[in-house]
């Protein structure tokens, strides 16, 4: 029934289920808190003067031996856990966002080229992509940070950690963008509006950037949401494994790593709260991403 399908490009009536709305709000609030960490955090965990070993390993304020100054307790160095988490979330989100941005830029560009020109250009780009896909994200990321560690002098490793992490994650993620954009570009290139542009004689660059690019952007946005969640997870995993952010400038993953060493001695909060924050953030972003994908994926849409 043609008459029943909504007209394309109509996002005016979003009609998302409540769970997705809630997830969207949660994700936004968490991102906002993280970005405003320096304004709203009770302490500055990067300032050595602000914490004291005397306060180390204090349980959360609401438990029996809690200290009202530290709502979620303190870590092994006496840092306020809530503040560390806010700053940590900021690091996690910045690295995740950075990786997504870098990966999307590279991937969209190469995907457009491969899809539009086909032939040798396509073959070369896609073979490179295939080789990279032979290696899971986490392995490539570990390799990149391992190599960076070997190349950079010890002190610089910590300083450059965010950049290394962004590269380490993006080196794998761009492939997904390139493949998606390539497939979409091939579909669009076969469409008659592109043929019309070619008949007029428009230069390829103009056809690609002005005509095709806007038409392949919606899957890119969907992937970006899901990839942001994945990138935050990868960063956390790397930091947990000890090759990510250093303990002096911790991300959520680093905090969990620190906490993991104390879990068996009954000091559960250092690992638990950062882990909870991480999972809630990623669940929220994934929920929105899933919904977007189901909405924009023509494969899952009811056919005419």
């Amino acid at each position: 029934m043609k008459t029943l399908t909504a007209s394309p490009g109509l996002i005016t009536r979003i009609g998302a289920p409540i769970s997705v709305m809630v997830a969207g709000v949660v994700a936004l609030v968490m991102v906002a808190c993280a970005l405003l960490a320096s304004r709203i955090a009770p302490y500055d965990p990067t300032d050595l003067a602000s914490f004291d070993l005397i306060n180390a390993e204090l349980p959360p304020a609401f438990s029996a031996d809690g200290d009202p100054r530290f709502l979620l307790g303190t870590d092994n160095q006496g840092r306020d856990l809530l503040s560390a988490m806010l700053y940590g979330a900021r690091v996690s989100i910045a690295i995740g966002g950075g990786a997504v941005l870098v990966a999307a830029t590279i991937g969209v560009f190469l995907g457009l080229l491969a899809g539009y020109y086909g032939g040798k250009v396509d073959a070369v780009i896609m073979r490179v992509a295939d080789v990279i896909l032979s290696f899971p994200t986490i392995l490539l990321a570990l390799l990149v940070s391992g190599i960076a560690r070997a190349v950079l002098p010890g002190a610089a490793t910590a300083e450059w950690a965010p950049v290394i992490l962004i590269c380490a994650i993006a080196i794998h993620e761009w492939v997904q963008y390139a493949r998606t954009v390539r497939a979409a570009t091939m579909v669009e290139t076969a469409k008659e509006y592109v043929r019309a542009g070619k008949v007029i004689g428009l230069p390829s660059r103009r056809i690609m950037l002005r005509h095709i690019l806007p038409n392949v952007m919606s899957p890119v946005l969907v992937i970006s949401t899901i990839n942001l969640a994945a990138a935050v997870l990868t960063e956390a995993t790397l930091s947990f494994l000890g090759v990510g952010m250093p303990p002096t400038y911790p991300s959520l993953g680093t905090l969990i790593r620190i906490g993991n060493e104390f879990v068996f001695s009954g000091i559960w909060w250092i690992a638990l709260f950062p882990a909870l924050a991480l999972v809630i953030l990623v669940v929220a972003v994934n929920l929105v991403g899933d919904w977007l994908r189901d909405r924009f994926n023509p494969k899952l849409r009811v056919k005419r």
């Binding site: 490009g9 008949v199 004689g201 005509h211």
Partner: protein
């Protein structure tokens, strides 16, 4: 026809509704009634959105969710269909009702053999054992005229041609001797010659096995050829019903009259198509006059001399081999084709799918490079051997309009931007404002309102988009427009309007048209000269009058004899 037996299918006052997300209700079918007796083919015909497919689905209990039968009754073999269950007591879908769908390419599961797909129905409904089901499947394949049935049983769908697949689908529908078959556009995806065979098969089934067939179609020619009775639908309502000859010859309802009038005839050429409520013509004439004066200023138009000539054109496609160095398969899509088009005429290129006509369109419009031969425009070679250096300005003279109006306009750009693109690219306007004025004139010239420029493509219907697509082509101020199946995805009434528009533009501005089509009737109505293609070669070229009255080549004659047309109505031929 015994009146003692209950009709195979009786639909009375049916109403089908789709509750929408916003709480309102979309009525897909309203007050529909029809009766099918044993051995009768009843055509349900109408344009897209008329509700004909919905009725077919309702009969089979396959309404897409959340569609529901709101009121009225359906009796299959005298037994009432329960609107909640979607089936009738004692009537089993697959056993008593068979189904044939439109696209034989997708109706068969690619992972199972023909045998498996044929026998599973029989084993489920008739409780046959493997050997019995197999024997019966073999017989069925013979009955539907598949060569080497023994071997085909073991075949997978992808190893069969489109026509063979549709025969397998029909065999499968017949496997349990149903009394009723619902055939939804069974020949729409097929070529003319295959379509003729399948139609003959359906007719034989009705005559010899006494099966009642509900034939859902949009093609009036098909109706005329095999249906006993016809019901015409429009926007969910039945507008007319009766014996085929009576309805087609003397339609009473205004819509039925208009619809039948809009069907292109193959027996005689008309000046214009009679149309139902043509889109507002408004300032079209004025705008076209301006176009004409501009065209005259830039050079002589429609002098009748040769404008385009295709010489010994050859196009080969190579599929790449698996291993490096291994030779791929070569496929010659166009094989030594020559013809020339005179200024001001409409030249038709006609043939079945895969004959190479679209490949030629692509070469002429510069989308594809030929393997050998050449194409010249007013003496300048624009493709192939000896191509002139600076093709750009010559390209401007040749523009194209496409088949699918839903993909030929970029949905992310405003109409104004899309239409201004060729004008600005070829510097035909000195300023953006002048370009905008030009765009407005183009839009008016194709019979739309100038404010269309502000909107996005999705705000327009298929026919309107096709008009806009034509307006874009006009923007480059071409001398020749290549029309690649310009109306084959449009409803027949819209097709009539677009064809009229092309004729008007040709008359008003002296354009030359190269019309690519598979539809002989459209070619008959539009073209001055026609070339017929088959397997990459040109088999016959003649003036339209000559070609249609005294075809020379056997292939042309065969094609002409196979086209289902309105002027050959079943029953009348036998009576005469």
């Amino acid at each position: 026809m015994s009146t003692l037996q209950p009709p195979v299918l009786a639909i009375d006052d049916l109403r089908v509704e789709y509750p929408l997300a916003d709480g309102s209700v979309f009525t897909a079918v309203e007050r529909a009634s029809l009766v099918i007796h044993t051995g009768e083919i009843h055509a349900l015909v109408g344009e897209s959105g008329a509700g004909k497919t919905t009725i077919g689905n309702a009969v089979m209990g396959l309404l897409e969710k959340p569609g529901r039968i709101a009121s009225g009754t359906i009796h299959i073999g005298g037994k009432p269909l329960d609107p909640n269950k979607g089936s009738a007591e004692g009537v089993v879908l697959g056993r008593d009702v068979g189904a044939v769908f439109q696209d034989p390419m997708t109706s068969l599961n690619p992972l199972f053999t023909v045998e498996s797909q044929l026998t599973e129905t029989m084993r489920a409904h008739l409780k046959l054992d493997r050997a019995a089901a197999r024997a019966r499947a073999l017989q069925l394949l013979k009955d539907v005229g598949i060569p080497e049935p023994q071997r085909r049983l073991k075949a997978y769908p992808h190893q069969l041609s489109g026509g063979q697949r549709q025969r397998v689908v029909i065999a499968s529908a017949l496997s349990c001797d149903p009394k009723l078959v619902v055939a939804d556009e069974p020949t729409t995806a097929l070529d003319v010659s295959v379509q003729a065979q399948i139609l003959r098969l359906l007719r034989d089934l009705a005559d010899q096995r006494g099966i009642g067939i509900l034939l859902v179609t949009h093609n009036m020619g098909v109706v005329a050829q095999i249906a006993d009775r016809v019901t015409i639908m429009h926007r969910g309502m039945v507008v007319e019903t009766g014996p085929t000859a009576e309805v087609l010859r003397h339609p009473r309802a205004p819509y039925a009259k208009a619809l039948i009038g809009a069907v292109p005839r193959i027996d005689a050429r008309l000046e214009r198509f009679p149309v139902i409520g043509e889109e507002g013509k408004g300032r079209a004439a004025e705008a076209r006059a301006v176009l004409r004066s501009k065209a005259e200023r830039t050079g002589a138009i429609a002098d009748g001399g040769p404008i385009l000539s295709v010489e010994n054109l050859q196009v080969e496609y190579t599929t790449r081999g698996v291993l490096p160095g291994s030779k791929g398969h070569r496929f010659r899509a166009v094989d030594g084709v020559s013809f020339s088009v005179n200024s001001g005429e409409v030249f038709g290129l006609v043939g079945e799918s895969g004959c190479g006509k679209t490949t030629i369109a692509n070469v002429v419009s510069g989308l594809l490079k030929p393997t050998a031969g050449r194409v010249t425009y007013r003496g300048h070679t624009i493709a192939g051997e000896g191509m002139v250096r600076c093709v750009g300005p010559l390209r401007q003279a040749i523009q194209m309009i496409f088949q699918d109006p839903y993909s030929s306009l970029n949905s992310r750009m405003r109409i104004g931007t899309i239409l201004a693109e060729p004008i600005l690219f070829y510097r035909l306007a000195s300023s953006k404002a002048e370009a905008a004025a030009d765009v407005a004139r183009m839009i008016e010239a194709v019979g739309l309102e100038a404010d269309a420029a502000q909107r996005f493509p999705h705000a327009f219907s298929g026919g309107q988009r096709q008009r806009l697509s034509i307006a874009r082509a006009l923007g480059a101020r071409p001398k020749l427009i290549v029309c690649d199946e310009p109306t084959s995805s449009l409803d027949v009434s819209v097709q009539a309007q677009i064809l009229n528009l092309l004729k008007d533009l040709r008359d008003a501005t002296g354009l030359t048209l190269l019309l690519i089509s598979h539809d002989l009737a459209v070619v008959r109505q539009m073209c001055d000269r026609v070339a017929v293609m088959r397997n990459g070669k040109l088999v016959e070229e003649a003036s339209a009058e000559t070609l249609f009255s005294t075809p020379q080549h056997p292939y042309t004659r065969e094609l002409l004899s196979l086209v289902p047309t309105l002027d050959r109505i079943r029953g009348e031929a036998q009576a005469a």
